[in-house]
Amino acid sequence: MITSFLVKSLDRTIITAVAILLGLAALVPALNLMTAPDHPLHVPTYLVSLFGKYLTYALLALALDLVWGFCGILSLGHAAFFALGGYAMGMYLMRQIGARGSYGNPLLPDFMVFLNWKELPWFWYGFDMFWFAALMVVLVPGLIAFVFGWFAFRSRVNGVYLSIITQAMTYALLLAFFRNDMGFGGNNGLTDFKDILGFNIQADGTRAALFAASALALAVSLVITSGIVRSKFGKVLVALRDAESRTRFLGYRVEHMKLFAFTVSAMMAGVAGALYVPQVGIINPGEFDPGNSIEVVIWTAVGGRGTLIGPIIGAVLVNGGKSIFTAAFPEFWLFALGGLFVLVTLFLPKGVVGTLQQHLARRRANREAARKNGEAEFAAAEPMAAE
């Protein structure tokens, strides 16, 4: 069954993309660790971390594409799921600091000592174990998405209304996480991480491993989403995206299907956040900013929604552009980003990949038509020649 799922889920593009990702997962750490710093092929550590971060963004964009591109749900709250996953990982990393914090408290993280807390709040229990934290990374965003989606889809909140209330959700979370009483570090968030699974988080080897893990997670998610999208279920998802009422009248439980896609997508976003935090070394409430969620949407739109590799390319392109731009002309980045929003929606509604695919498909169709025409002419010409 798994093999048939795999076979069905893969086409040439996906296979190529997965192969490239796996290749990167092996090659980049190798080039970083095994070559001398002055070697022409050496990849410096900061680039490894930078691209590792892009890969987690790509995973987030892919998660959004599953709901927006294939299900028609424009979620403006995906950065919230990303941040929740990040916080779950951040809590594990905080517990790993142990007595090495500035206050030397073996149990309480520094900010709790600073706030004069006497004992660990109940929701911090268990985060000293990696498996528990890893479980929470998927469960917490998944659960919130499930509950939120359960209410929203059941009462048929859709279109822009859904977008607006997802935005309200992330805004409420933003305000909540800014509070010191919440027990998540308030304004400063969680930072000063020391090690992960016993490895120093600053070490080159750990960073390379995190990069490989991000590439691997992205490849696995790509296979999973591709499997979902190419299955019969995926076909119904696309149908409800294009004509929700009609799909419902045909007898499909539209809200259940939406809920499934939304929850899976939120879990993927959570994983992305969990991989993001150890690579950048901090998680704070700013990640919940509604603007961030909208920015994810533009990555997906630039790459091409409704295509699976589009969001990945879009996320890397936009964020690469952001890194270059903010270094070279910091004050113009927002102009560029704003312009990108306007231009892409006006002139590239299918995104880079979508437009390219359309172009290729048209060329193939033309060639096909030309060949058929040629055959027909040939067939028509034959009897004449025979005469």
């Binding site: 009462s155 279109g159 209304y161 607006i164 309200a168 409420a172 949407v297 739109a301 113009f332 929003f341």
Partner: protein, 537 residues
């Protein structure tokens, strides 16, 4: 007694009308000079005699006496106010107030004071100001007694009460008498009356007086005081609730202002305009520019700056809105999610433009004089700027309603949004109406910016703070319904302010957001939903 003297003085005034001031001054001078010869034992009689004149000039003399700055010249027994330390003192004539040169200390003898003299001075001063012919001075004196009740002041207060005719000052004096009575050693029955009186009056400052009296009072009085305390606290709680409603209305008016333009662009046209907050911001910056020009060129017009800025802001943001509609949004009709993204992009560009031109820091926008200050209404404190903003929000709402329901343009707008093709067949230029409607919504956002510049920081991020709230208001109230926006704004504002004391500002806001999210589950189309075919469009 005082009235008697007043009558006598008045009679004197009438009879010797030709030289009244000379006479009065001579009398005063004699009284003052008498101080220099008086003994400590009969000093209080002299002080009382001075106080009885009711002359405002007596006040500085008595003050100087209390502080030990009154000296008599040994040579002729003249008494002077003195100033300075060391061997030489500067003399001031007590009656005319003119400088009388300097004199060595040895040529002067100090008018002696002890504690009982000082007390007499204080009482005389209190009653003097309480009896002052200036109404404001009496009011101030009565208030100061009310705020620091003193058994010694009781006689003075009662004297003043007998002579007072002004109703407001009388009321204050009666309260002052009641508070002073409680700390005095008067009979229980009188005190009970005073308590009843304070209970009627209520007010926050009565609470500490009563509760401190509770400790030292007679057993017989305790139930009275406790009842009065409970009563006052209850009224106070009622006023506090009233104040919360007021704050809620004030917040609601801000929400209404921010959301009302959105009710047009989103509610009526169905365009998700994420750049709406930036229109508000542009309106605020227009106000800033107008005030800069006014300040530099026509400072006299400063109070009018908001009135000047209002139409300008409407035009500026209306023009920007027109350009956005023609340049971007018209290509995206029927694709609401894309419109959302494109307008978000526009909002980023507008924000960054303003940041580049005006800098990232807050710009100062001043309050005109008629918008600053506050007044009291019962137990409520009402600031003028909040009141004006509430009135302004309601005025904008009314004007917009009139425009939509009663004018030709409003008719065409409604026709286009209800059935575009039919409207077009009837000869309405639908693209033109689209652009005008969007410009109208943006222009109103700009006017909101003028008002919000008075209570918020004018910075490039001004609009971002309002965008989510405005969408919440419109969605909560029901899309396509201006009344829904009004009700939505005020109910969210009041709800927010009532949650705040229990949950804190941030948690209150979170609760409101969660409530809205839950509410939308229940009624996906808001409080006042459109019915019929428009829903499915």
């Amino acid at each position: 007694m005082y009235r008697f003297i007043q009558t006598v003085l008045m009679a004197l005034f009438l009879t010797v009308a030709a030289t009244p001031w000379v006479r009065a001054e001579e009398g005063l001078r004699d009284l003052v000079n008498a101080l220099g010869e008086a003994k400590l034992s009969n000093m209080d009689e002299h002080i009382a005699a001075l106080a009885r004149t009711g002359d405002p000039k007596v006040v500085p003399i008595l003050e100087a006496l209390g502080e030990g700055n009154l000296y008599a010249r040994k040579a002729d027994g003249q008494v002077f106010l003195t100033d300075g330390t060391g061997s030489k003192l500067a003399l001031t004539d007590p009656v005319s107030g003119d400088s009388a040169g300097e004199a060595p200390k040895t040529a002067l003898s100090k008018v002696k004071v002890n504690n009982s003299v000082r007390r007499a001075v204080r009482t005389a001063l209190g009653s003097l100001t309480l009896l002052s012919p200036d109404r404001d001075a009496r009011l101030k004196a009565a208030k100061s007694v009310l705020q620091s009740p003193d058994a010694d002041a009781l006689d003075a207060v009662e004297n003043a009460l007998a002579a007072e005719k002004d109703a407001e000052v009388r009321a204050l004096l009666e309260q002052a008498r009641a508070t002073s009575l409680l700390v005095s050693d008067r009979p229980v029955e009188e005190k009970r009356q005073a308590i009843r009186m304070m209970k009627q009056r209520g007010g926050r400052d009565a609470l500490p007086v009563l509760s401190s009296a509770l400790g030292s009072a007679d057993e017989a009085l305790k139930p009275d005081i406790e009842a009065a305390l409970a009563n006052i606290e209850q009224t106070q709680a009622l006023w506090a609730a009233g104040q919360n409603v007021w704050y809620g209305l004030s917040l609601g008016s801000v929400l209404l202002l921010a959301a009302i333009g959105l009710a047009i662009t989103f509610g009526v046209m169905g365009i998700i305009n994420m750049a709406h907050g930036e229109m508000v911001m542009l309106g605020a910056y227009t106000t800033f520019l107008v005030q800069e020009v006014v300040r530099n060129s026509y400072p006299g017009l400063f109070d009018w700056s908001l009135a000047i800025a209002l139409p300008l802001a409407f035009l500026v943001t209306g023009a920007v809105g027109f350009a956005i509609e023609r340049g971007v949004i018209r290509f995206l009709y029927g694709r609401p999610l894309e419109t959302l993204l494109a307008t978000w992009g526009i909002s980023l560009i507008l924000q960054q433009s303003v940041r580049t031109i005006f800098g990232p820091t807050n710009r100062e926008v001043g309050n005109p004089s008629w918008m600053s200050g506050a007044f009291e209404l019962g137990g409520l404190t009402i600031t003028w700027n909040r009141l004006w903003i509430i009135l302004f929000a309601l005025a904008v709402f009314a004007a917009l309603l009139f425009l939509l329901k009663k004018t030709r343009m409003g008719l065409q707008m409604r026709a286009v949004t209800q059935n575009r093709r039919m409207a077009s067949s009837m000869g309405i230029r639908t693209p033109w109406i689209d652009a005008l409607t969007f410009a109208l919504g943006s222009g109103i956002a700009g006017m909101a910016g003028v008002a919000l510049s008075q209570i918020d920081n004018v910075s490039p991020n001004l609009g971002q703070g309002y965008i989510i709230d405005s969408f919440m208001v419109v969605v909560f109230g029901g899309v396509g319904n201006l009344w829904g926006t009004l009700v939505g704004a005020f109910s969210l504002g009041i709800l927010n302010k009532f949650l705040e004391p229990y949950a804190g500002a941030v948690l209150g806001k979170i609760l409101v957001l969660v409530l809205i999210i839950l509410f939308i589950q229940k009624r996906p189309r808001g409080l006042f939903a459109l019915k019929g075919r428009a829903v499915e469009a």
